[in-house]
Symmetry: C2
Subunit: 218 residues, 2 copies
């Protein structure tokens, strides 16, 4: 009952430093295949739908092999989730509005067409109750808010934004409506919408002098 158990307790790829320099091809292939099938299944059915048996079926990798690589289903899912998506790069359009439009458009495109985003509600639901999922998610989220922080910091340096601007609030104003649109209001998430949001957050919809003035186009 200890470590000598033949099946699951001897984990592959854990013998010498050779495993790092010239890893066993069988191991890397198994891990990659399993992780690919897992992320695909996650996208289709969410966390609760990502079953070890189903992952085994799709990947063609035996269930026992899966458990040789990850001690538990949750560990596999955490691992797969932490590798989700590709980070956004901070654009440089020359001014803040251009940067913001470019970045929110990219985010909008990602939210509406990258399949993996459909697992997010499931993760967020789990994060509501399980702290380690919350940790994993916050690192993920960090990655997607970082470029926004970057363009805001640059705009602050250049004086394009008031010095007392709260970055977190501005990020929420820029990106929040996109997430909202995708999942809460479930309306079409177009580039035009993203642009309108940026204009609203930056410029405002109301003429500066108050009411009853000629409205400015947005």
């Amino acid at each position: 009952m200890r470590k000598g158990s033949p099946t699951s307790k001897t984990r592959p790829g854990r013998s010498a430093k050779r495993d790092i320099e010239a890893p066993d091809q069988r191991v890397v292939r198994s891990r990659r295949t399993i992780l690919d099938a897992t992320t695909q299944l996650l996208s289709e059915r969410g966390l609760s739908g990502a079953t070890v048996d189903e992952i085994s079926r799709r990947s063609g990798v035996a269930k026992t092999t899966i458990y040789r690589h990850w001690p538990t289903r949750i560990d596999l899912l955490r691992d797969a989730c932490s590798k989700l998506g590709t980070p956004l790069e901070a654009p440089d359009a020359g001014n803040f509005e251009g940067d913001a439009i470019a970045l929110t458009s990219k985010l909008a495109r990602m939210l509406r067409s990258a399949q993996w985003t459909s697992v997010l509600p499931s993760i967020i639901d789990a994060a509501e109750r399980e702290p380690d999922i919350a940790d994993m998610y916050s690192r993920l989220q960090q990655g997607y808010s970082a470029p926004f922080e970057a363009i805001i910091r640059r705009a602050l340096r250049k004086g394009e934004l008031p010095a007392n601007t709260d970055a977190a609030t501005l990020i929420a104003a820029l990106t929040g409506p996109l997430f909202y649109r995708r999942w809460f209001s479930r309306e079409p998430l177009t580039d035009a919408f993203a642009k309108r949001i940026v204009r609203l957050a930056i410029g405002g919809a109301v003429p500066r002098g108050g009411s009853n003035h000629k409205p400015q186009m947005i």
Copy 2:
């Protein structure tokens, strides 16, 4: 195997119109108890955690009785979810900014302290894949965006907003950041934050004349 099955096929409260005028007290008590336990459990554990056995345990109502009232677990959950929360009322502060601040503050308070809101990610996750859950949710969502539509329409009538304002976009700009803050960035959702969002959406953070001007306080 037909309708004559003694247990679950004879649904309580379905005999005469007497059931509507003077309903059997046992029936109303059971339904209420079950629904209460269900919503409480939903808040704590989400859709997948709301188990019929656990609902039975908490409510003290026998599992068979539950199935006498709802043909299936999903029907019970849909029913409970569709009754979630209490609608927001549209305020009347005299001007749009006041209305918007009052309403977003109310929404922020709800999102951070009403227990039932913690079931939303779970619902949204299910809505991603199951159309009937999506329908149920959209009716729910409708209820919470309606007062925003009301104050926007009023502001449009009074000329406080440009005539070409897109209500859906403005609603997204006002409420999206709150939802975002609650679930996606997981930062504190204060009234002050709500107020800053309203100021951003309405007034804008950037001085009208462009960059390098004296920033206006927000």
